[in-house]
Symmetry: C2
């Protein structure tokens, strides 16, 4: 099964990488950009009996390693 | 409008960050993991007349700055 974990900074947490990208886009002439935020997308292929088991396991991975839950939120999507 | 750009390494390009994460997950006891690949998710808020214009502008941003098209592919999704 294939799980997509999107990890992104919580609302209110400063995102210097996004800010730098926003600035760079403005320098390149993209004046319509209002904000940029940058997160990670982690694609995990794993063996699992069913979707439920996959979600459970990937949640544990996210909590322990993939996301820093103090400053980041995450979403999990099972695609196949 | 809000655009989500997913940037990921092309098939066949080595992904050391993903490999390290895979290794770390195995060390933590997640033995069912078969592979891990890591990409970026860039959320761009921009002013645009319509969806088409937004896609066109975000494509240009991706080609010039957000993705390194030699080794990376990207997808664009307009969500609102």
């Amino acid at each position: 099964m294939k799980a997509i974990v999107n990890v992104f900074l919580k609302e209110g947490v400063l995102d210097p990488q996004g800010k730098a990208t926003h600035h760079a886009l403005k320098s390149l002439g993209f004046d319509n950009v209002e904000s940029v935020r940058i997160g990670k997308q982690i694609i995990v292929e794993l063996k699992a009996k069913d979707k439920e088991e996959a979600i459970k396991e990937v949640s544990q991975m996210s909590e322990t390693l993939l996301a820093n839950t103090v400053i980041e939120d995450y979403t999990i999507e099972i695609v196949e």
